[in-house]
Structure formats: C-alpha cells, structure tokens
Symmetry: C2
Subunit: 452 residues, 2 copies
C-alpha cells in the first residue's frame, strides 16, 4: 500500500469511525492485509485504535497484533479483555504467542494462558523458558517432521496434517527414531519424487542447524551466510525441537542494526522508534548525556590547569573546536568501520591486527593532510608559522590517538562481551575529547616554553 493510498484510507476510516458505521468498517477490514491494517491502526488516535481493533476477528487480529509497533501493541493488548486476548493468542504460532505473552504483566499472562488451548499453553510455557535473544527464544515449535525410514507418501501425509497449523512449509525435517535431526527435504524434492521413495534416499544430509542457546545475532549471521529460508533448532543431543523462519531473522537483523545505530548515537536500546512519551524518551537519553557531561567537566579541569598558557596566548583557545572535531570525526570513522565489521563478522579470524594497523595508517595519512592544512591556516590567519607548526603537530597527535582508541575500543569491548557499538557512542567520544584536549595543551605549552 502506497503512502498516499494509506492517507486516503485512514481518512475514510476516521469518517466511518465517527459515524460508527460498523458494517462498512468490517468490510474494509476483510479486504485489507493485516500488515496494512496495522499501519492504519498506528495512524489513528488511541480510542480509535482500540475501537477499530475490537471489530477485527481473532484470526485476523492475531496477525495484526504482530505487525503493530511496540507502543501501539502495548496499548491494544492492555485494552483488550482477557478472554478475547486468549482467543487471539490461540490463533498465533507458538513463537509469536510467546512473544505476546512474555510482554504481559505476570498476573495477566497467567490469566490469558489459563484460557488458551492446553497444547498451545504447554508450548508457550516451554518457549518462555528460553532466553529471549537466543535461538530458543525466537524459534517456533510448528514443524513438519518425518522419520528417515518413512516414505514420500508419509511425508505428504504429515504435510496434510500440519497444513492448517503451518502456513509456510518449505522444508520437511527428517529425524531418526531417537528424534535426532538427520536430514532435510525440500517440498520441491517431495513433489518430484515417487510416492514410495524412502526419505533417507532423497534427504540432504548437510543440514545446517543451530542449538537452542545460540545467540540470535549469530543465528541471523548464519542464515545470511548460507542463504537459508528456515533453520532447524536442536537441543544438546541434536534432537529437533523447532525452527526459525527467515521473517524472524529479518526482524532480528533490523533490530540489531537499529540497536547498533542507537548505541552509536548514545540512545538506550530500550527507546523504540515509535515511543511517544516525552518523559520516557528523555529518560532513555539522559544517562548518556550525563556520562558525556561528566567527562567534559574533566575537560574544564584540563583547560583550567593550562590557564597560564591560554592567558599568555589567547588564540590557543581558538583551536579547541577544530582539534576536538577532527579527532572526534577520525575516531568515529575508525570505530564505526570496526564495529560494523565485527557485527557482520567480516574480515576473517586473524585479521584483527591487520585491521588495526590499516586504521592507524589511514589516520596517519589523513592527519598529515589535515595538519598541513591547519599549518597553512594558522600561518595565513595569524602570521606565525612556528605557532602553526605547534598546532599542526598537536592536531596530528590528537587525530592519531583518537583513531587508535576508535579502532581498539570495539575489539576490547567485544572481548569482554560488551556490545562494541558502544565504542562509537558518547563514552569513548568523551574520553577522546578530554585526552585530545590534554595532548593539545601539553603540545602548545611545550611550544610556549620553547620560544621563551
């Protein structure tokens, strides 16, 4: 649905909501894709959202809920009566049902689960035990399995039985009589094989699977690397327990990219893009600003310490912004490239030092160019080539150190299991600022002492 169409539809729906024309609204709901319905709902006011959602049947509502942004979903889920919410959850795949239930307050979650189908409840309870960010946390239990000593006909029978429950079957998983994953068969192979063929004869033995504990980001990188549309999940004994489909992987990749960008900018990962409360947004962002603030107060002390130099040559203070900005930019360039390399696990295994030296060499080249430029600027503006030289040397040092910190910090953070994306954010930037100021002032003070 194009943006303009949506605007028109939203206006139309607003009118129909105003006049409470339920039949027409229900017709629109039936004709609209759940993902589009979710978009439309997000464009409405809170009470309109709740009313329109109340008109959607559980089997469609279950799809709509999953497409809503976090903030709208919270509003809707809170407003829906428990019985209806159970009916909606009942319609979902086990992984989605678990996501929705896990977001509920404990008491409400219990009440909702009490009303859903026994088997579904058991599945959700099982999935709730896994870490949210692990393979187990994002897998669904809906899978089609067949024993490797069964036939293609048996497999088709399995597909028939699961067809209502699972909409998107691409592969059938072959297990041995111990439940261990031994092979994988595509639907394409099923169609092209004779009914009596043994699964064992047509299955692909090179199955790429993940264990339940595997981190979702690693799972995503695996799926990306091997171009999979679904990946089976196994337990420690290689017993098949679920599968993760590509749509969930796409969400993980987007989530991780957003998270990295937010960390780069000093925004807590808790802040979601659709957050509407000013106070909550401010609260999520303030900690990083305060960290930077405290760091920069250190900068005031550094400057205060070198007060005598600044008093002697006032123009020393004029170069603070350009020195800080150059160091900041060069440092962020280095750290961003390193952070992204780590996130996409690019660049090989033993390449860390290579990457590191490359960054230093780049910083060396660019700092040389920039230092030459500042030398000329100072010469022209202040007619003092020797002062220009002092500033140029200081700038070169500061850029080199910022790039070194920028290239090193992500590796170190990664080593101690902290998200390396932090390295491009306010914390490291502030350290660079204060360190840079210190080096700059030491350099120019040395110059002052030397000309005396």
């Amino acid at each position: 649905m194009e943006t303009n169409d949506r605007k028109e539809i939203v206006e139309n729906i607003r009118y129909l909501l105003d006049v409470r024309d339920e039949p027409k609204l229900k017709n629109i709901i039936i004709d609209t894709h759940p993902a589009d319905l979710a978009d439309i709902i997000q464009d409405l006011d809170d009470d309109e959202k709740i009313f329109l959602f109340s008109l959607i049947k559980p089997e469609i509502a279950s799809d709509v809920v999953l497409e809503l942004d976090e903030v709208t979903r919270e509003l809707i889920v809170t407003s829906v009566e428990t019985e209806r919410l159970s009916a909606i959850v009942d319609e979902m795949d086990s992984d989605d049902a678990t996501d929705v239930v896990s977001e509920l307050p404990e008491q409400r979650a219990k009440e909702v689960l009490a009303l859903v189908d026994t088997q579904d409840r058991a599945e959700v309870q099982k999935l709730l035990l896994h870490d949210e960010e692990s393979a187990g946390g994002i897998m669904a239990l809906e899978i089609v399995t067949v024993y490797d000593d069964e036939t293609v006909d048996d497999a088709i029978q399995q597909i028939r039985e699961k067809a209502d429950e699972i909409e998107d079957i691409y592969y059938i998983y072959a297990i041995d009589r111990g439940g261990r994953l031994v092979g994988i068969v595509s639907l394409q192979q099923i169609i092209l094989s004779k009914a009596k063929t043994l699964i064992r004869e047509i299955m692909d033995l090179d199955v790429i699977s993940v264990t339940v504990e595997k981190d979702q980001e690693e799972v995503a990188n695996l799926v990306r690397k091997y171009d999979l549309v679904a990946v089976p999940v196994v337990d420690a004994y290689n017993r098949l327990v679920g599968r993760i489909t590509i749509d969930d992987i796409v969400d993980v990749l987007q989530e991780e990219a957003t998270e990295d960008m937010q960390r780069m900018a000093g925004i807590s990962e808790e802040e979601v893009l659709q957050e509407t409360s000013t106070f909550r947004i401010a609260r999520f962002r303030l900690p990083w600003l305060i960290i930077a603030f405290i760091g920069e107060i250190g900068g005031i002390s550094v400057l205060n310490h070198f007060k005598a130099s600044i008093q002697q040559i006032i123009s020393i203070s004029f170069f603070i912004p350009v020195i800080m900005a150059m160091a900041g930019n060069a440092g962020i360039q280095s750290s961003t490239i390193v952070v992204r390399s780590i996130a996409l696990s690019e660049g090989g295994t033993s390449r860390i030092w290579e990457r590191f030296f490359r960054e230093i060499k780049v910083a060396f080249l660019n700092s040389f160019v920039l230092s030459s430029m500042i030398f000329i600027v100072v010469w022209v503006m202040f007619q003092q080539p020797d002062f220009g030289l002092a500033i140029a040397v200081a700038m070169m040092l500061v850029i080199l150190i910022a790039a070194t910190v920028g290239a090193t910090a992500p590796f170190l953070l990664n080593k101690i299991n902290i998200d390396p994306a932090i390295a491009t954010g306010p914390f490291i930037t502030t350290c660079n600022d204060v360190l840079g100021l210190f080096i700059y002032l030491i350099s120019v003070t040395t110059y002052i002492n030397w000309i005396k």
Copy 2:
C-alpha cells in the same frame, strides 16, 4: 563453521598449499560448503587465494564467488582466465551472473558473455539494462510459471522442467494467456491438491508484487512488512518478468544499514568493510574530514571575533568543549532516531510534525537538566553563580538548537531526495558546532556587557 574450526582448517590448507597436495585440497573443497570456502579463501594470502580457487570446479566456484567479499572477488575474477570465468558465470542464476558481469571492465564483460550459453547471455544482457538499485536490478529471471487455466499436474510438470535450473522454488506464479500475473500458488498447496485441479481454483489472488523500477530499499521494506520469502516482479502492464528472493533482500537490508552507519560516521559509501588499500580508505574518508575542517575554521573565526570577551574572562574558553559536546550528543540523538524512522518507514504518514515536536520537548527536558548541572558546577568551581547562570542559559539554547537542526535536517534531506543519514554525519555536526559556538559567545558576551 565456528571461528576456531576455521582457524584450524585455514592452517591445514595453508600447509597443503605449501606442499602442493592437490588431491587432498580437492577433497576438502568437496566436503566444504561454498560459503565456508569463501571464508577460508578470504583468510589466505593473495597468491594462495588464486591457487586454491583454481582448484574449484565451475559449478561450486560459481557459488563461492558470490559469497566472497568485494575486494577478494575483484582479485579472483581478475585472475581467472576468460574461458573459465564464462563457465563459472554460466552456472549462476541470471541475477548473480549479471552482478558479476556488471563488475567487469567493459571489454572483459563482452569477452566473457561471448562464451556463455546463448540463452544465459540474452538474460544477462536484459538484466544489465536495469538500474542496479531497482527491483529489476536485483531480480532473477528463473521462475516457475503456469497458466491459470492449467492444472496442478501441469504445474508439477513445470517444476520438473525447471528443477535443475532453480534450486529454491517456494511459489509458482499463475499468469493469464497474456502473461499477466494473476495469482500465486505455494508448493504446499500443489502437494495437497488433486492432480486435475485447476490452478485458478487454488491460487491466491492477493499477490504482492513490485514493478521493475521500484527502488530496492522499498522492495526490502515491503518484503519485511509482508513477511515474504520471494516477491514477483512485473512490468508496467503487470506482465510477470522475474522474482526477487529473500536472500537478496537480506543482503539489501544489510547493505542499506551499513551504508546508513557509514554516512552517520562520515565515511563514503564506496568504502567497503574489507577494503585493504590504506590509500583508498584514506581517500574515501578525507572528503568528510575536510568538510568538517573547513566548517571548524569558521569556528576559529567566530572565536577570534569574540576575542575581547575571552580576554576579559579567560574561563569562557573552558566551557567550549562541554557546550560543543552536549550540543553534538543531543543533536545526534535526535537525528539518529529520525533517520532510522525514515529508513524503516516507521511512524506513519502524517506523523512528521509529531515526531519533530517530541524531539524538541525531549531536548527541552534534557537541556534543562544539563543546564542545571552546569550551573551548579560553575558555582562550585568558580564561585560565581551569575556567570554560572549565563553559561547555563547558553547551554540550554545551544542544545535546543542542535536538537532542532538534528530533528529537522533528515526530513528536509529526505524531501529533496538526499539520503537522510547524511544528517547525522560531519556536515550537520559541524554546522551545529559553529552555530553553537556563536550562540554561546553571544550569550556570555551579553552577560559581560550586562555586569559592566
């Protein structure tokens, strides 16, 4: 393959390469997934890369080439003789073949194409006409189609015919006798339907398709929104021309996220993560540094202009870093959130103003907190509450303006079709720096004039 395993395999391969044990190397190649082979090759030295690749048969080499990073691929493709390269290209799907050929120098591309199979050549030549970043530029021509008045049996016949050529069939596209896309049938439905059933009776009429000109980022957002594994591509007359599979969409999403992060950090999008040439990296990054440099020279002039004020109260210069850093951080927080919202087309249609006001309100809250803090710091450090008040007011103004610029710039850039991610990069940051300095110095000068 885990990182540690890979290290071991790479060492083993290095040894085998040293002793030129081709049979053993060929055995390893056969036993290893092409994506893993690509990883291994990337870990080797240039001449080892070329030699190991030369041992891989075209049908596997075609998969390996596609998994290599850009830098290694260029090296390999350049080193391979034309005839072998043609054989490798011949094994690829039309979209991948087109990607590889489009990266070749014009003369070489002609030579390679001259040697590939006639039909493949025609396909590649057709695909080369599309914009690289459009749906036509990333689609493959390998699709299974069936007329809507044919039967399930006919569809299975089609699958059988295409099975060699297409490994990953998930959907069959139903067209009318004019070639227009009218429906879609999943393999699951094919399996569960009787042989004589008409396609028309089982096909899903709600097909989500894209036109050849559609921008790849929009295609990716569509696939993400509707949870598709493949999307059919049609021409202006709704005639089916190709399909885009999810693995290519995943690549687009990663590319766009990397690009956005690079723009945020002031790195040209031409710089790829695996780039090895120091000079090339430096050249890609220098332009942004120079833009920032020139901007900050403006900062020197601003400070020079207010020389008298600084001379009068030297400690004015001490607050330059903290003022700049706070404005910078608050501005980047705002612009990052807005940039990401635009990239993921979140936040609805008419929500731009809402988002804007929200950012201003957040900036207001946080600048108030930070200004109060700086007020206390100045009071304690310098025993001058009135000076503290002047600094606090200045900081508040500077943060508010930086957040306004940060929240506005992405929308404006998006409006004039420039990637909004630029807004978080050095250009806007530098503007904010200089503007912030100016406002700060105006504020404190007003204070000085007032106490006199």
